[in-house]
């Protein structure tokens, strides 16, 4: 990003969605921009998304990172290790100066690459945002499992004993689960992490074939991204 230059609408949308997620209490995010890529990492380090910007005109020559909630204006610059968001309105110039986050864009590039290199794009499940209406978003986890009947999604309410089970309707078969051979052990995802993805895209493909993480890919042409989301594992270990 050249100094003080406004970013395009799509990038602004990414930033705005990331900020909105924090304000809604669902995810607290940090944004990292480098060259023609934008990375979003949540504070708990359970979601990492990479957005590719195709326009050649849009290039963050100088890597920049900031907390999503600090985002205040499409015009910003880096000055003395601080990110300054600049707003001009009614004859006034307002500069909001914010600390830069602990991690750097270069670290995010390496981190993302480490997942990308070992990803296996198998056990694909395509999920549309309408699926969310089946979930109880107040519950901490949502569990995915591939069995002989296809995809099984389960939520357990550990306060009341209620269980939600979701399977693809016979009439729709094949939409949710395009891969025929869908057999995988139960994988938990944090409900907040899962739901948050659909703030960026209405259609997301999940690949349940990787150890420790789920690879994902947006299918929304207006908001293309790839990413990883932490798996929640059903073991008896207290440490990560």
């Amino acid at each position: 990003m050249e100094k003080g230059r406004g970013v395009y609408q799509r990038v602004e949308d990414i930033f705005a969605h990331a900020a909105a997620l924090q304000q809604s209490g669902r995810l607290k995010n940090t944004i990292f921009c480098i060259k023609n890529r934008v990375y979003i990492l949540n504070q708990d380090h359970t979601v990492l998304l990479k957005f590719m910007l195709h326009s050649k005109a849009l290039n963050f020559e100088q890597p920049v990172s900031f907390e999503a909630n600090d985002y205040d204006s499409p015009v910003f610059e880096v000055k003395d290790d601080k990110v300054c968001f600049i707003k001009k309105r009614d004859g006034y110039k307002c500069v909001k100066s914010c600390r830069t986050p602990q991690h750097t864009p270069i670290k995010m590039v390496k981190l993302f690459k480490s997942f990308s290199n070992k990803r296996i794009e198998k056990n694909r499940v395509s999920i549309n945002s309408s699926f969310l209406s089946n979930l109880d978003t107040s519950l901490s986890h949502v569990e995915f499992k591939g069995d002989r009947k296809g995809l099984l999604v389960i939520q357990r309410n550990i306060y009341s004993g209620m269980i939600i089970t979701i399977r693809e309707d016979e009439d729709r078969k094949g939409l949710l689960q395009p891969d025929r051979s869908l057999m995988f052990e139960a994988v938990g995802l944090r409900t907040n992490d899962f739901v948050a993805l659909f703030s960026f895209s209405n259609n997301v493909d999940f690949y349940f074939a990787n150890e420790g993480f789920v690879w994902l890919r947006s299918r929304d042409p207006r908001m293309l991204f790839t990413g990883v989301i932490s798996q929640c594992i059903y073991d008896e270990i207290g440490k990560v």
Binding site: I158, Y159, G161, I233, Y234
Partner: protein, 480 residues
């Protein structure tokens, strides 16, 4: 089903998050920002004034109180000898440090230079003298909860909010001086600590000299020294605490092992637990008190601290306290392993209170001859209802029983306990959460309860969500 089977099944219900990468983020205690060098201009005097709110960094102003948990707690008379922004033992799971840091920095301007401070022994002796003179009077004639608690002889509880036996105490002996005073006036004492200083000769002698008796709870949540170093980096090592327990129990002091917080999937490894059971038994300890992680630990600072250690606090809290049913069930089976060895075991976890070995969950009911307890609380209500063996129990029945033992500590507290009786107020502390509690009717004072041995909402909930049953378990009952 034993503990290990249950633990495995709970692990199939509540998963562990595999974070994308290990990271050490700064563990900055949340502090409230205050302006520095702040001045205000007086228009009348036409000059600037420094506006500072200063905390007395040397001395604690007040030191004795009835706990805010008195509506549930049988021993709520607390005494604060030492205090500070952060305790030198630096236990990672201690939410008191978080709260103190936030509160002190919110109201005072000089807390950056704060170390530890203590109460003034001369002042507190005078204050206690006033209370002690009233002992022997009829509790029903006493007004004021502290005065009444002392007249009833409720043991003074050291070390609830801060460690009272750390390195500074070894030099200054403030707690020791207070102990000596209480030994002189023959008042029962209860100590909660992680320090091995309590096994020093002069301390042991003072405990023994108290004819009203001294009991001591030694907190030790695991036998895994490496884990303890991570979780309690400033506290004495495992072996030091075991040795201290042996010295004290050999001297006739009631030593209660305190496993609080019990942290599922972390401090409950099989070999560690087995070793803890054996070592504590060999140290002569026969009583244990347990409790789950507190809800108060649910704050962002604590999550960060645990993540820095590579631990998933979310899972620990979901299994260890958030789901009252699952956490209580886990604790029940965990306690059972200690009970099987021959220990007398009790807990403040309401779900398990009916099965406690003693009515006083601190495990000292049988130890103090001259002590009284806070009978008018919800833990005692659960025990009272169970003691009636399935008969209906009304609020009036409970009140009559409490009054026969000295009454409620105050009208406000009576009102609070009455709310809990009827599942109002902060109902996490209501006896309704206890295993077997069944509301069987209503009268002019609200709910009428009875104890049904067969009814356990925890088991019902667990059966309904366990994986093996695939949700086809028994009926599903939720509280509330």
């Amino acid at each position: 089903m034993n503990y290990w089977e249950l633990r495995k099944e709970v692990s199939q219900i509540i998963p562990r998050t595999a974070f994308l990468f290990e990271d050490k983020t700064p563990e900055v205690m949340k502090t409230k920002g205050r302006k520095t060098r702040y001045k205000e201009f007086s228009i009348t005097e036409k000059r600037w004034y420094d506006v500072n709110h200063l905390l007395n960094l040397e001395e604690i102003g007040s030191f004795i109180e009835v706990s805010c948990r008195a509506a549930a707690c049988p021993m709520p008379l607390n005494i604060d000898v030492w205090d500070g922004m952060s305790c030198p033992f630096r236990c990672k799971y201690c939410f008191a440090s978080t709260f103190k840091t936030y509160l002190y920095t919110a109201f005072f301007d000089n807390t950056h230079s704060m170390g530890v401070r203590h109460c003034n022994p001369n002042k507190f002796k005078k204050e206690l003298d006033v209370y002690m003179k009233r002992r022997g009077q009829n509790p029903h004639d006493i007004k004021g909860d502290i005065a009444k608690a002392i007249v009833m002889g409720i043991p003074l509880h050291f070390g609830i909010k801060f460690e009272d036996f750390m390195r500074q105490e070894a030099k200054k002996g403030v707690s020791l001086e207070l102990m000596k005073y209480l030994a002189d006036v023959e008042y029962p004492v209860m100590i909660c600590t992680k320090s091995d200083l309590v096994a020093r000769d002069d301390y042991v002698q003072t405990f023994v000299d108290n004819k009203a008796k001294t009991a001591l709870q030694m907190t030790l949540i695991s036998s895994n020294n490496e884990l303890l170093k991570q979780l309690e980096p400033g506290a004495p090592f495992y072996d030091q605490r075991i040795r201290a327990m042996k010295v004290l129990s050999d001297s006739g002091v009631r030593v209660v092992l305190r496993i609080e917080p019990y942290i599922p999937f972390l401090t409950d490894q099989k070999e560690d637990t087995q070793r803890l059971i054996e070592d504590v038994w060999d140290a002569g300890v026969r009583n244990i008190t347990f409790d789950n992680f507190s809800y108060s630990a649910k704050n962002p600072s604590m999550y960060r601290v645990f993540r820095n250690m590579g631990m998933d606090l979310e899972r620990i809290l979901l299994a260890g306290c958030d789901s009252q049913a699952l956490s209580s069930l886990l604790l029940k089976e965990y306690m059972q392993m200690f009970t099987d060895k021959g220990f007398s075991c009790s807990t403040f976890d309401m779900g398990n209170v009916p099965d406690n070995s003693q009515s006083v969950c601190c495990e000292v009911e049988d130890f103090f001859d001259k002590a009284g307890f806070n009978w008018g609380c919800s833990v005692m209500a659960a025990r009272f209802i169970k003691s009636k063996k399935g008969k209906s129990v009304s609020w009036s029945d409970f009140c009559a029983w409490v009054n026969s033992k000295g009454g409620f500590l105050s009208p406000i507290l009576e009102n609070e306990v009455h709310h809990l009786w009827n599942c109002d107020g902060n109902d996490a502390y209501s006896q309704s959460w206890a295993q077997g509690m069944t509301a069987v009717g209503c009268d002019e004072n609200g709910l009428v309860w009875c104890y049904d041995k067969e009814f356990d909402f925890r088991d019902d909930l667990y059966q309904s969500i366990r994986k093996e049953e695939n949700g086809k378990g028994k009926r599903c009952l939720s509280k509330g």
